[in-house]
Symmetry: C2
Subunit: 404 residues, 2 copies
């Protein structure tokens, strides 16, 4: 698979988060010659929060995680993730696989089963060969190390072309608080609660209910604003673990909120930049909508339009397709109040192409790797931004051939 | 552009509809070396009904047609359509173009301007060079002939790879009533009121309000059940002209309703079969939904999913993606009650793959040109069927390159 043009030269340097240790292994769930299982062990007292797909066909591990979020935080916790098989739509066998994995992690680490969170990502509808996973857990336990986060990021990849990590360090009341996160996701990406798999770790101190509320609010501004193909995974999970080992209470800290937002937005953008077949990163900014919700709906109508996405792939400044996507959104819009810009270039206003716009200017702009499309609806003050990528032959090649 | 594998060997033999005459011409609006304008002249007393796109950025001709549907049917009427330029998002110049074309048709034919219905299809946002059209109208008037419908079907094509026509003749009260229809559409196809351009002609006798109600109801069961790419045109128009020349009143005729339904469904299927880049025709039947509306929503969620459509393109029986699309639809569904079939093959039930299903059987089925996917949700009695095509490299090639 061709490397995304946005792939970084190397995995970023992530800070060690006190109270978290990682290990990864090659269990051969589906892939050969690479790691596919990661274990993260979390110190006693860690608050764990999560948001998950709203899909009505969500996977057994997702249902299990949702049931465990309220568990007692005073004991250690663990996260175990495998790639290659999503354990979704696997009936009662799916639940048994989750239980078997949790039992094995509990036996190896001593973590209580109701503090063990699992996730599976990959093909839907095939039975998870969980014994391949349980076999490697004892070894994972022995390999746990504070520096293992890059290995963890690699083990959870599926069609990703690069491993995704982001971090922040902030000073709060003279103390340093650290955040490190990893994500995987490339196709089947559309905003509905969380998207793909994302794990965030911080040494900040914050109670689970406050952490859960913060995660939900920031997800809405980050992972819920990206789309690759409008398809929603059955396994989407986004979790954060706050070990509290820094001793710094961040419950009321605007600085921590900002830093966490930055890390989440960075990871969300990396997911889009690694969108299947992506050659362009596209920001769609909508202003002047009736409400913020309508702004996002218009943004998604543009970002999910196959005709807009193929025009961008072809470096064609076909702004008529943006007009079309605004029109079909079902949101309040008025042809004669609509303004469209490519970057700083005024393309259309007052229901027609701008007299200053030329096709040559538009075509030159479209050759950029990052494209900014701004749409002002001229109705009221609602605004929103969404991010997506183009739709290319690469997407077709990857998805017409994923299982073979 | 490669011919659709579903293209018929030749245009069907359509019956002459008494009271309708057609002509077509090459005006060079955008295309070279082919016809791009068609004129249909309708005898006095013709009832004209229409349904149009709900897009909030709909074109000037659409707005004009909507305003004229209530005009006095006792005088002759005319329909003029051009391809190559949609006259959409062209500001006040767009309205002036419509007026100029209507004036020229009125001058040449003597039809009152409020009985002249126009449509434009093609690129959005470029000024329509309407003088190229008005120049040929006098000649079109001279060429009008009852047999000209095939030429009309060819003149309205854009990215279509074949001209689309369908017809029916039925006996009602010992008299023959005829219906003939033409359509164009290939990309930017999604159900929202009418889709693409469709013109239906019949010699049946029926008042405009009854005809309008019938057209709306049948559109909902035909053109509103197809999707190629989930994008909605700014120009979609579906019109029917009933000349009444057969003398047969069909207001209460179930036979006429059935025949018209058949013609409309035939044309709707032809549009999907000529979907940009299509190599497979896909029928998605949903049963057991909470309501008929939810059934259609689930059907469209499957039919619009890029991951389902690419799997079909790759002849991959990846039924897990169907589960995903059901899950993301937002409709009531229960993993353990879901049943999925490919044709007659039972693929999955009770939340898991069927014990009788094998990948080989599924893969063999996927090699068919027509694919039937049946999904039973097991909730209640709601049902609905939608039709779509696969998503291939052909779609990307056509749309990343449409304007160049």
């Amino acid at each position: 698979m061709a490397l995304s043009p946005f792939a970084p030269a190397s995995f970023p340097d992530l800070p060690v988060i006190d109270g978290v240790r990682f290990a990864s292994a090659a269990a051969g769930v589906r892939y050969k010659g690479r790691t596919d299982v990661m274990l993260a062990e979390l110190v006693a007292g860690t608050s764990v929060a999560g948001v998950f797909t709203r899909s009505s066909t969500r996977s057994a591990p997702v249902l299990d995680c949702q049931a465990k979020l309220g568990s007692d935080p005073s004991t250690p916790a663990a996260i175990l993730v495998n790639s290659g098989n999503s354990n979704a739509f696997t009936g009662s066998a799916g639940e048994k696989s989750v239980a078997a994995i949790c039992d094995a992690v509990a036996a190896a680490t001593g973590v209580a089963a109701d503090r063990i969170f699992t996730a599976s990502t990959g093909v839907i509808g095939e039975r998870l060969p969980h014994d391949r996973i349980t076999t490697v857990i004892e070894g994972l336990k022995g390999d746990l190390a504070p520096e293992g986060i890059e290995g963890a990021a690699r083990a959870i990849m599926t069609t990703d072309t690069f491993a995704k990590g982001a971090s922040a360090s902030i000073e709060i009341e003279g103390e340093t608080v650290k955040i490190a996160g990893i994500a995987k996701g490339s196709g089947m990406i559309a905003p509905d609660m969380a998207t793909m798999l994302v794990y965030l770790f911080t040494d900040a101190k914050i109670e689970q209910p406050a952490l859960q509320a913060l995660l939900g609010a920031l997800t809405d501004q980050t992972f819920n604003c990206i789309t690759v193909d409008s398809d929603t995974s059955t396994s989407d999970s986004l979790m954060i673990a706050a070990t509290g080992t820094s001793g710094v209470d961040v419950t009321e800290s605007a600085g921590f909120t900002q830093a966490l937002y930055g890390v989440m937005l960075d990871l969300a953008h990396q997911v889009v930049k690694d969108g299947e077949g992506a050659t362009k990163f596209v920001e769609v900014r909508v202003t002047g909508a009736a409400t913020d919700l309508e702004a996002r709906k218009v943004g998604l109508s543009i970002a999910n339009s196959p005709l807009v996405k193929t025009a961008i792939a072809g470096e064609d400044p076909n702004w008529g397709r943006i007009v079309m996507a605004v029109g079909k959104s079902g949101c309040q819009a008025d042809r004669d109040k609509l303004t469209i810009r490519f970057g700083d270039i005024l393309v259309a206003e007052h229901g027609w192409v701008s007299p200053t716009y030329t096709e040559d200017t538009g075509a030159a702009y479209m050759r950029n790797e990052t494209i900014e499309i701004s749409v002002d609806l001229g109705i009221a003050g609602g605004l929103g931004t969404v991010w997506t990528c183009d739709l290319t032959h690469g997407y077709i090649t990857i998805n017409a051939d994923y299982r073979s």
